[in-house]
Symmetry: D2
Subunit: 173 residues, 4 copies
């Protein structure tokens, strides 16, 4: 896939604008760190989100997760691009918790565009680049299987098998 990740120039411009505009709906009185997010859904529609903080910090929901739950509960579970915008330079990347949330609804190919404050400032990475060797739905055996595992039977999932290398332990006998 080219550097445009299958997006048209117009779509990329729109992603940038919508992510930046989304910062206006941020509720971030504790961090003063506004984050806006825009999603280009598989059906061509757009969804935006922003970070919504809480006096109890761990109860905060980030911009990416806000945008995704909005989309998902509107029936949009696949995305062509994710845009993220902050008021600093260089741009910030999604936190690990958001990378994990996105992972549930995306394979590694979805591009994440990170916009900073400067005009045209942008970094792009795919989810696969930001969360390599991810823990995802396929890593969790189904519940029946997990009960069996606890009783002694073993399931194999092959999600990260391809990434395994010979462990350093082996050479240490």
């Amino acid at each position: 896939m080219s550097q445009t990740y299958g997006l048209t120039p117009e779509e990329i411009q729109e992603l940038s604008k919508r992510a930046a505009a989304a910062k206006d709906v941020s509720y971030s009185p504790y961090s003063n760190f506004r984050v806006g997010c825009a999603l280009l859904c598989e059906d061509g529609s757009w969804v935006i989100g922003a970070n919504i903080e809480n006096a109890s910090y761990p109860v905060t929901i980030c911009a990416e997760r806000t945008a995704l739950v909005k989309a998902i509960t509107e029936g949009k579970k696949r995305f062509r691009a994710i845009g993220l915008s902050v008021d600093v330079s260089p741009p910030a990347s999604p936190c690990g918790m958001c990378r994990q949330f996105i992972r549930e609804f995306s394979d590694g190919s979805v591009p994440i565009f990170m916009y900073g404050k400067e005009v045209g400032e942008c970094v792009v990475r795919t989810l696969g680049e930001l969360l390599p060797m991810s823990f995802g739905p396929d890593d969790l055996p189904d519940r029946g299987a997990r009960s069996q595992i606890l009783s002694g039977s073993l399931l194999v999932n092959d999600n990260i098998a391809g990434l395994c290398h010979t462990c350093v332990l082996e050479g240490l006998g």
Copy 2:
């Protein structure tokens, strides 16, 4: 650094054993997915943790985070190695939320040993490999600065600057 990440064979063996044993203190009645974690702290001491679940799933705390808060509140904030053990094969990797939590107390060089059910089965990656281009303490301007940013002044942090490439936007004028 060599494939042993600065650890002795004895330390690596111990990491494996302690991570596996830690699964016994897992409280995971909802997932039936036991995870054990062992930390080798900078001072040579060991700390273990396991996943502690909750009827409200998002209130769950993973094994890695359990181990880290134990260590940190005992004054141990730097780690030489992290071991993770599960009852399945191949091994699972830390979720994005845990990678983010580890990030706060580690640079990218700390090795994470992931152990599966089979004897000797192990995958090793550094935090930097598992959470590239991470969002960390340096990405968040200090609070005074954030207030200024909202009022128009701009701070620069250079955490991901080295990773920036010319954005696809630029070629799209």
Copy 3:
């Protein structure tokens, strides 16, 4: 306020229907526990949400929080009623994390209608009843003040002052 919490019969019926229907957009493959939420916003509009789970359980977002971030990022920060619907009987109540999230955008008077599987089955409590003596925005001194506190100066917030009783410690002198 009467038992109808300032709502019309039509609004109450609508709340029930929308909360139940919202279960259809739940993504809950790990718990098999669908939860739907409907919000009646101050401006008379409706917003719905459902629980969106993750292979990493703590990354899950509950129905109530999904509905609230949707509303808030659409500019609706005050609510006349919250409805919650599950497939079991009797109905479930919001978890503590969601009560905390709601607290940020509501005083204690907002009614939470909890619907079970049986027709007409409903329990109603206000947020104040479900999260008494809550930790909220007023409990967190502003950041400048917190720095002063750490340096020795003391701020007083009066959020829970009215609830204080003479401590058992006093009699134990």
Copy 4:
């Protein structure tokens, strides 16, 4: 149970001291809001915790949860008292997320002592008073049952049944 919640004067004094001292191990560079927590375990031993924050605010773990995962992974799952200490006055209460976490390992009778900055300043409430009508393990039908529920069969749990009142809906027929 008396106002001392079955604790000796010495235990109450010790709870206060340990909770206050625990603030020293807080890692709270983002909020500047130190919280210390002390647990008196059923076996008479003590465990302390403090809040451990993260640059990504939602990844933060509060003092109460830190203390509980430490205790639980040391085999201590039942508690006689929980103490919470902050640097402000009046004292802060546990956030809803922590109330939910405690709920998993406690019935409603466990007392939570909240200490403020002033000498002798203390508020006490039981978990049942702070999280009435809680969502807990009994509210979540077992997984097999949940699958059946989705297929049409109905389970009854009686956790909040006693608290139900005739719904306002009934009068609106």
